[in-house]
């Protein structure tokens, strides 16, 4: 029987052991008394000393302390409520942000051994060569080369993200799909929840015939019915056999998204070599590290690039393609656009909520200090009765830890709610964010450590202070201090200074984000955004011969323009501000460079309210067979034709597949308009007439300008197109709303930082109010004497305000320095102003001064109205 075991047995039978010890020692005493010995010592104390040997006394003390703490806290419900509420809010907000960070950044993919996963990417990205898809890092031909020979990986697989159309005609719905290579599920170690996973038998000649659905899709769209031989879905117009359902936790490899349908790659005879649409991943072979795999891939690269050489591009593009080097990157946490877009915002929010918690803690510490002052007498009595100082200290710490623990538990609950609300607010119609939140060990650990930290911050200093009190002087003075010692407040003063400085940082941040969001919202786009409806129209089913597509589109446009209430409409190959880009190399004279290219109907500039600065618009004479013409923007004219009149000059485009090198004449110039985002600077842009678009597709985007309510416009456009071409699929959106969806991150930052900034200022004001009020209470006698000796109320107010002003100025100076230092971290998220924007700094300081003055003026005013007699008489 080991010692530990005996110790535990004692703990479990503690009451019996104690009873036995008591009766044994009682017997000892009786026998000693009978033998004439005198009874000695305090029986209880002796028994406790004997019990000490078992090493469990601390548990008893802890329970005593806890019970006592509960009693004390119950006795002052107001204090307890305030403390728990602040802690719940503070810890809840922090934990919520951490939960999102955890889900977006830290958590591994729900696959087997995610740490072995690596993604193969081109070092430095694939530059401007070819076409890019979301999450597309490599081309299918490169993937085939890697699939043939991959010494570093025990298994490799490729996948790409694609929207798929499920169902027929007007009942069809878009779903997020992933295309996967045959080894995808096996390599990931993901088994089917129902049915089977896609495997090598499913990857065969196009079109693919099998598909898997995700668990949420199966539940919501297929009613969760059993998968059988007759379970089929019409996907992209073809009937596919549904062979299985993926597990509930598997959302794909893109964190923040959730796929609905998984389709196998199909083996097409002609794979395009310039479309970067797949992400290639592998499982590292045992014994291989990422650097070793990277070295291996790098050595393989020249061979792979030579075997997959691109065609139809300029010599320079082909050369840079040949120099691409492959490397392996960790993929244990998957890939994520969400992560890319929100990384710095999330860390910043994390810092902001942390600072708010710090301010709240400083407030609580002051509250505790004030309370310790009030309880001074209690401590003095306990010390005088023989309580050990460290016991007193422990008791106070237990009190604050109990508060912190309750706050953390409630905060965890609040975080669950907050993080979900946040995730919902990140979602837009086109980009629903699906994050598996959940509370895992990391979140629990985080909440626990943050609670411990707050407990230390707001509990330790007051506890040390209170337990260090000297019983004699405390009892003697007993709250009737003539003048309170300065040392006593210095900690509280320091706390207020910290609060003011930190809240200045937060206020500056808040104002920066709010103003930069305002700048974005009011940024001159160079074009009309209001009263525009965007339509995306697909007419594959109309079977228009390729030569007649331009004509078909023109007829569609004429139909829409003829609708009463529609002021104008235009078709374009690229919708501005919604993220798409299309560029090509350009040579004008001797100047080489690249420009964005968009092909539009002649009505485009008028529809979007873009004036022509020089030259002419496109017209009916610019046809597929006439001379190629373009309209360029001012940046283009400036970049390529510095100062020279661009009208009549020609430009030559670089060759790309389907886009042969062309010579175009510049016929017009427009002012700069935003291209693919509100934030970005305007690149050189060239517009061509849609009749001369070299690569006609059976789909188009249409911009419709009308002053009617958008829903009415959408209905009438749908009606008009439906009457003539019921087979056409179309989707409509409100252009302005879509642009604002693109600013959801900025809106969120502005809202949250604004909220937290105000909260911080408010907390600091409360802190200042509390400390000034406390100082006045302690100096009541002094103020009373001054008033009695003839000081007027203005002098008293001045005295108090000088005190508050010193704190405020110290806090503001420190805060200013901190703001300037911290601002650099936020500068990449700002728009239209610098992180050291003087107006913003001045505004924040002004705001804080106003709040601070107000919160100290109140107690100062009260002090000046003191009745000197009452102040002097009162205890």
């Amino acid at each position: 029987m080991s010692e530990l075991f005996r110790r535990l047995r004692y703990l479990l039978n503690r009451r019996r052991f104690d009873r036995e010890l008591a009766s044994e020692m009682e017997a000892h005493r009786e026998m000693a008394a009978r033998d004439g010995g005198k009874p000695f010592g305090n029986a209880l104390r002796l028994r406790e000393e004997a019990r000490d040997a078992w090493g469990w006394t601390w548990i008893d003390c802890l329970f005593q302390d806890l019970r006592y703490a509960c009693r004390v806290l119950r006795k002052s419900p107001g204090f307890t409520f305030v403390v728990i509420l602040s802690l719940t809010l503070g810890i809840g907000a922090n934990t919520a942000i951490f939960q999102i960070l955890n889900a977006v950044r830290l958590r591994n993919l729900p696959v087997s051994s995610p740490r072995q996963l690596a993604e193969v990417k081109i070092v430095g990205g694939n530059g401007a060569v070819g076409l890019h898809d979301e999450y597309g890092e490599l081309t299918r031909p490169i993937w085939e080369e890697i699939r043939r020979d991959h010494p570093a990986f025990s298994a490799v697989f490729a996948w790409s993200a694609q929207l798929v159309l499920v169902g027929e005609g007007s009942a069809s719905q878009l779903a997020k799909g992933i295309l996967v290579s045959d080894d995808f599920f096996h390599a990931l170690g993901v088994n089917a929840w129902r049915g089977r996973v896609l495997n090598s038998g499913d990857e065969h000649a196009c079109p693919e015939s099998a598909a898997m659905v995700s668990y949420p899709y199966w539940q919501s769209k297929m009613g969760g019915r059993e998968i059988g031989a007759r379970t089929k879905l019409l996907i992209n117009g073809k009937l596919k056999q549904i062979v299985g359902v993926t597990p509930r936790s598997f959302f794909g490899l893109a964190v923040g998204e959730r796929f609905g349908i998984a389709l196998p790659f199909c083996r097409s005879t002609e794979l395009r070599r310039d479309v970067f649409d797949v992400s290639v991943m592998g499982r590292l072979r045992p014994g291989w590290s990422l650097p070793a795999a990277s070295a291996q891939l790098s050595a393989q690269s020249p061979g792979i690039m030579a075997a997959t050489k691109i065609k139809g591009y300029s010599a320079r593009s082909i050369e840079s393609y040949g120099k691409f080097r492959l490397s392996a990157y960790s993929a244990s946490t998957g890939v994520s656009d969400l992560r890319r877009a929100y990384d710095s915002s999330l860390w910043l929010l994390f810092a902001i909520t942390g600072l708010v918690l710090l301010i709240a803690c400083a407030n609580l510490a002051n509250l505790m200090l004030a309370r310790a002052g009030v309880r001074e007498r209690e401590f003095a009595v306990r010390l005088a009765l023989g309580a050990a100082r460290n016991r007193l200290l422990r008791q106070l710490l237990v009190e604050s830890c109990l508060l912190a623990a309750i706050g953390a538990a409630l905060g965890l609950g609040l975080a669950e709610l907050l993080s979900r609300v946040l995730v919902v607010s990140l979602s837009t119609e086109d980009n629903p964010v699906a994050l598996p939140m959940g509370t895992d060990w990391r979140v629990l650990l985080f909440a626990a450590s943050i609670a411990a930290l707050t407990c230390i911050v707001f509990g330790v200093a007051p506890a040390i202070r209170a337990s260090g009190a000297d019983p004699v002087t405390s009892m003697k003075s007993g709250g009737r201090g003539m003048t309170a010692s300065r040392e006593r407040f210095s900690l509280q003063r320091a706390m207020v200074v910290i609060q003011i400085s930190v809240s200045l940082v937060l206020l500056v941040g808040a104002l920066l984000f709010v103003r930069s969001f305002h700048n974005l919202m009011t940024e001159n786009l160079g074009m009309r955004a209001q009263s525009i409806v965007l339509g995306r129209i697909a007419f594959q089913k109309s079977n228009v011969p390729p030569g007649h597509i331009a004509q078909f589109k023109r007829e569609l446009l004429d139909d829409v323009r003829a609708i009463p209430g529609v002021r104008n409409a235009a078709i374009t190959t690229n919708v501005p501000l919604l993220g798409g880009t299309e560029s090509d190399g350009v040579t004008v004279g001797r100047v080489e460079g690249s420009s964005m290219f968009t092909w539009v109907s002649p009505s485009y500039f008028q529809t979007m309210g873009i004036p022509l600065l020089a030259g002419r618009n496109f017209n009916e004479n610019d046809t597929g067979t006439s001379r190629r013409v373009v309209v360029v923007n001012q940046t283009f004219a400036h970049r390529f034709l510095n100062g020279v009149n661009p009208i009549g000059r020609t430009l030559r485009t670089s060759p790309m597949p389907n886009y042969p090198s062309t010579v175009c004449e510049i016929v017009g110039v427009i002012p700069d308009t935003k291209y693919n985002s509100v934030r970005g600077a305007t690149p050189p842009m060239a517009f061509g007439p849609d009749s001369q678009f070299p690569s006609q597709h059976p789909w188009t985007a249409m911009l419709i300008h009308s002053d009617l309510p958008p829903t009415i416009v959408i209905d009438s456009v749908k009606d008009r197109i439906g009457q003539k071409h019921p087979e056409i699929l179309s989707r409509y959106q409100i252009f302005e709303a879509k642009i604002q969806d693109g600013l959801v991150r900025e809106r969120l930052m502005a809202m949250l930082s604004g909220f937290f900034g105000l909260l911080a200022a408010l907390l600091a004001a409360v802190g200042l109010y509390g400390v000034i009020g406390y100082i006045i209470t302690r100096r009541r006698n002094e103020i009373g004497i001054r008033l009695a000796l003839g000081a007027n109320s203005g002098q008293v107010i001045g005295m108090v305000m000088r005190e508050a002003g010193a704190l405020l100025i110290a806090g503001l100076l420190i805060g200013l320095a901190l703001s300037l230092a911290a601002g650099r971290g936020a500068s990449s998220l700002l728009f239209g102003l610098k992180s050291y924007d003087p107006f913003t700094l001045a505004l924040a300081i002004g705001l804080l001064v106003a709040i601070g003055a107000l919160s100290s003026l109140l107690p100062a005013f009260r002090a000046s109205k003191l009745d000197p007699m009452a102040a002097l008489r009162c205890d």
């Binding site: 044994e24 026998m31 000693a32 000695f40 010592g41 000393e49 019990r51 040997a53 078992w54």
Partner: protein, 108 residues
């Protein structure tokens, strides 16, 4: 007679030693040490019981309830084999130290 304060290690050695001849209850242990030391050593309750708890924790003795000579229910402590081994070890190391100290005192 001035009260001699004993180090707790020495007290444990004495307790183990007096228990070697048979189980005893707490008061009897104190009495036995008192008597055997020619009434020089007095073991106080405040020292004896913590030492006994420590010895129990170490597993050198076991305890059982019985009746004292005055018909009082008391706990008797009995040396275990581990306790016997501990006693031998401590005795021999005590002997060595004692001899060493004696040697220094005699010759220095």
């Amino acid at each position: 007679m001035p009260k001699l304060q004993m180090p707790s290690g020495a007290l444990m050695l004495l307790v183990l030693r007096v228990l070697r001849s048979g189980p005893l209850h707490g008061y009897a242990i104190a009495q036995r040490i008192h008597v055997l030391s020619s009434e020089i050593l007095r073991v106080e309750e405040g020292a004896l019981y913590p030492a006994l708890q420590k010895i129990l924790l170490k597993g050198w003795v076991t305890s059982e309830w019985g009746l004292s000579e005055t018909n009082r229910r008391v706990r008797f402590y009995r040396l275990t084999s581990a306790g016997r081994k501990q006693l031998e070890a401590e005795l021999s190391s005590y002997e060595r130290i004692h001899k060493a100290i004696q040697a220094v005192l005699r010759t220095a």
